[in-house]
Structure formats: C-alpha cells, structure tokens
C-alpha cells in the first residue's frame, strides 16, 4: 500500500513538474506547481513527517501559491509566446542533460556512503512534539535567526510598498 502510494505520488509530482515547464499559460503552470506541492506533502506523510506535510500544504500549497495565482489574475497575464529556440539548445540540450543526470547518478553511487532503502513507517521523529522539541533546544539559534530574517524582509516590503509622503 505504501509503495503503491509512493509510486502514484512520485509519478504525479514528476508529471506536474514537467507540465509546469511545458504549459504556456501562467495559471496552468501555477496549478501544476500546486500539484507538485500536494504530492510532495503526501510523500512527506508517507515518510512519517506529518507536521512537515501539513505545513507544506498550509504554507506552500495555500498561502504562497494563492499569492502567485492572485498576482497572475490581477495582472490578467495571457498565454506566453514560446521564444525562438537557440540552435545551441536544440543541438546540445538533450546530450548535455543526459550527461548531467549520469554524472549525478555516478556521484551518488560512488562518492556518498552506501544508502539504505527507506522503510515506510519506521521513523517516528516527525510528530509536532518532536519537531517543537528540536526547534526550541538544538536548533534554537537558526530558528531565531530565521525569524529575524523574515522580520527584516517584512520591514523591507513595507518600506518598498510605502507611498511617497510629502
């Protein structure tokens, strides 16, 4: 059952990702991205990371992508025109991509220590309690630094969006 779900969600995730690049309309691309986020959330859930899965859906699937769609709708962006393909990409694109993937596979196989296949349901560190414990003890400093970073980003956004006052 777990393996079956994994295969389905992996296919959906990759399919949506490919569709995201191939689609010409921004809304279709944005919806494909939501499909990627959703299937990733299911994959996290399969691995036992229930909190991360829900956070993925709330933050990325919900808030971030709603903003994307909102902007696309507000600008009423139409279908994009495909740019004239460069001769270099047409000739060397596929061989270079294959070489890159092969290199990556080689590095994973040779350089990294031997990896064990994942067993679904064996890891239990993904509950909200466990993550909260880690965030507020071991990773407290990175957590606080990130929150300060976000605060700076918010202040920056307010300053940029502020109307000129005489």
């Amino acid at each position: 059952m777990d393996t079956f779900l994994f295969i389905v969600c992996a296919i959906v995730a990759v399919g949506c990702a490919v569709n995201l690049v191939l689609q010409k309309h921004p809304i279709s691309s944005a919806l494909s991205l939501i499909g990627v986020m959703g299937s990733l959330a299911v994959l996290y859930l399969l691995l036992g990371a229930e909190f991360i899965a829900m956070a993925q859906m709330i933050v990325y699937g919900g808030a971030v992508m709603v903003l994307f769609i909102f902007v696309i709708m507000l600008l009423n962006a139409g279908t994009e025109k495909t740019s004239a393909k460069s001769w270099f990409a047409q000739i060397a694109g596929f061989p270079l991509l294959s070489a890159f993937v092969a290199l990556l596979a080689f590095l994973i196989k040779v350089v990294l220590p031997p990896l064990h296949p994942v067993e679904f349901g064996s890891w239990v560190g993904g509950t909200a309690e466990a993550i909260g414990m880690l965030l507020f003890t071991k990773y407290l400093l990175p957590f606080e630094v990130t929150s300060v970073l976000i605060l700076i980003a918010i202040v920056g956004a307010v300053v940029l969006a502020q109307k000129e006052i005489d």
């Binding site: 809304i27 919806l31 939501i34 959703g38 229930e50 909190f51 829900m54 956070a55 859906m57 709330i58 699937g61 919900g62 808030a63 709603v66 903003l67 769609i69 909102f70 709708m73 507000l74 009423n76 509950t127 909200a128």
Partner: protein, 394 residues
C-alpha cells in the same frame, strides 16, 4: 477486518447525515431569515415547506447546464468540483462523541483521528480558496474575476487571525488532535462550571472564540463579509456564469464549510460533546427539551394559525414525544446524549450564522481589509500572548 466494516458503517452514517444537514440547513436558513424579516418563508412544498430542499435538488438537477463559449473550459469545470470536494473532506476527522461500545467493538464516534487534525483542517481551508479563485478567473467575466480576486485576498487576510485564535486552545490542550482537545475539556470547576476552553479558569478563551467566529464568517464568505458575491456590485460574484449543478456545488461547498467551521469551534472552545451540566442532570436535558417541544405543539393546536396546522402539529408533537422517550432510555443515552450536546452547540453556532446574516449589513471592501489587519489581527495576537503567559505561569 472488523475495523474496515466499522469504518464503512461510520462513513455511511456520517455521509448520509451530513448531506441531509446540508440540504436542510438551507431550509432552516430561509425559514429563519423569513421570520427575522416578518415573512413566512417556504410554505407550499410539504408541511411548512419541509420538502423544499428536495424540490430544489430536482430543480437544480433538471435545469439546463449552460457552458458559455468564452470560458476557459478546463478550469471552468474544475473549479466547482474542487470547491465541493475540498469542503466535504474535513467532516471526516471531526469527533462527534466519546468512545462507545458498538455491539462488542469499542470505537470512537469519528471516522478517523488524525494526530495533526487541526492542521489538516487549516490546510484544507487554505487550499479551498482555489475553487473560488479559479471560478472567478476562468469565467472570463469582469464581475467573476473581481469576485475571485476579492475572495482570495479576503481569505488570505482572515486566515491569520483565525490561525492565531486556534493556537490558544492548542496551548491549553497541548495536543493537535481533535479527540485529545475535546477530551482535555472534560470535568467541572467547583462541580458545576464546565471546563470548556471558553470558561478556562485563569484566562477564559472568550476573546479567542469571538475572533475565531468573526474570522470564520470571512473564511466561509458569509454576510457581513460576503464581498466575493456582493450582488449589488458584482451581480453574483465568482459564480455569475455558473448554472444548475455547477452552481449547486458552490452552494453546497459554502454550507459544508459553515458546518465544518462550527464543528471546529465547538471542539476547540465549547468542549465538544461534553455537557453543560454534570452527567446526572445533563442526561435528562434532551428528554426535557423534547417534552417541552411536544407541549408547545399541543398548546399551539388549540388556536392554529393555519388550517393545515391541525394535521401537522399533532404529528410534530408525536415525533417530539418519541424523541423524548428515546433519550430517556438509559441504554441509548450513552450514544445519544453526547451527540445531542455536540449537535446542540454546533446548531446554536449555525443559527448565529443565519441570525447575523439577517441582522448585519455588508462591509465595504476597504473596511473589511482594514478591520482584519488593524483590529482583528492585533487582538488575536494579544489574546495568544495572554494565553501563553497564563499557560506558562499557572
């Protein structure tokens, strides 16, 4: 195997009751609104218009299904499906009662318990905006587009106070699953004040509850925040171009969201299925209420307002008497009394939704945004800080 059979039975029961509730909620809304405005509401189809929902379903099913030529076909058809399917999912993790013995099998009155239940509901509500936004965009109509845009902006804005209001009961319960949150509110202070979060002792969650309800009104696009479908500015907003069953899908999604948000408010703030009075008294409350209803029906019979009431009121009185008898049987009480308290609380909140719709005028759009960001959000933040302080100190 037993688990699958019990789950299937529970799913069937919840689905049937939920669908009937959605259909009759609309009848209740029309009736209550009518009486608020000194009208009578649906009256022709069946006694007191009780068969009106059935007639509406037939009307919507048999209506011509228009597909305007200028819409973006795929997204136009996807949007109502998305809206209704996302709205119907969240009922599956709502617990309606405690663990009961069901013919030898111990089971909870809940389809399934998710350890991160409240996050699941928040995730669904975050995603459910796509149905409305896509409907507005794909209709290729400026009113629909404006409705969709308003809806997405409004839902993003009100999700913040909603989530902040949800966090305080979570701090008190120290758990994310609905079942645990509800069971943590069992018991009484001094033997008679229920330990619901709304009466929580050092710092009652009454502000959190009010903030949650206000944000809930906005999340479900109900008056006074129904800007996405404001009929005097936007014709019908995001569903202007939709007809027959596709329109009914949006309608159903709105009511399903209403039911979900009232159930969540009941579980988080009003103690779920835990009764208002200690068990020896509260077990007889449903019987007493049903008996009272029967007496009222019989008294009304002496001076009926309409001719048909002479036939309908005895039937209603009989039904109320049967309900009173059922609630009085000790064997059934263990099943029915928690359900009664849960439904009573959720029903009261649903009635408040309709009451507010009949009472308050609609906000202007800038007022809506101003209210969310400059009043509701700071209030929710203060409430959270006070709760966190109390939890840390006491």
């Amino acid at each position: 195997m037993n688990f699958f059979i019990v789950s299937l039975i529970k799913i069937a029961i919840v689905f049937a009751v939920f669908m009937t509730t959605l259909a009759y909620l609309q009848w209740v809304e029309r009736k209550v609104l009518a009486h608020i405005q000194s009208r009578t509401g649906p009256l022709r189809v069946g006694p007191h218009g009780l068969l009106q929902p059935l007639a509406d379903v037939f009307k919507l099913l048999t209506k011509e299904d228009l597909l305007p030529p200028y819409v973006n076909r795929f997204f136009y058809l996807l949007a109502p499906f998305l809206a209704v399917s996302l709205a119907l999912v969240s009922i599956s993790i709502i617990p309606f009662g405690p663990e009961v013995n069901f013919f030898g099998t111990r089971t909870f009155m809940q389809i399934s318990d998710v350890r991160v239940g409240i996050l699941f509901v928040l995730a669904l509500s975050a995603v459910s905006v796509y149905g409305i936004a896509l409907a507005g965009w794909s209709s290729n109509n400026k009113y629909s587009l404006l409705g969709g845009l308003r809806s997405s902006a409004q839902m993003i804005s009100y999700e913040l106070p909603l989530t902040l209001a949800v966090v305080s009961p979570l701090l008190l319960a120290n758990h994310l699953s609905f079942r645990e949150i509800a069971t943590s509110q069992a018991g009484y202070y001094l033997g008679f004040i229920p330990r619901w979060n709304i009466f929580q002792m050092p710092f009652p969650q009454i502000f959190g509850f009010i903030i949650f309800m206000i944000a809930g009104f906005a999340e479900t696009n109900r008056l006074p925040f129904d800007l996405p479908e404001a009929e005097n500015e936007l014709v019908a907003g995001f569903h202007t171009e939709y007809s027959s069953m596709k329109f009914a899908c949006f309608f159903m999604a709105e009511y399903a969201n209403m039911v979900t948000i009232t159930c969540v408010a009941t579980l988080l703030f009003l103690g779920g299925w835990h009764p208002l009075f200690p068990a020896p008294y509260s077990n007889w409350v449903p019987s007493a209420i049903a008996l009272l209803a029967a007496i009222v029906f019989l008294l009304q019979l002496r001076d009926p307002a309409r001719k048909r009431d002479r036939f309908t009121f005895p039937v209603f009185a009989l039904a109320a008497l049967v309900a009173a008898a059922l609630f009085a049987i000790p064997f059934l009480q263990t099943y029915l009394v928690p359900l009664f308290w849960f439904c009573a609380k959720a029903g009261l909140l649903l009635f408040t939704y309709i009451w507010v719709r009949g009472t308050l005028p609609r906000f202007r759009y800038d007022q809506l945004m101003h209210f969310a960001w400059t009043f509701l959000f700071p209030c929710a933040l203060l409430n959270l800080l006070a709760t966190a302080f109390c939890v840390a100190v006491f």
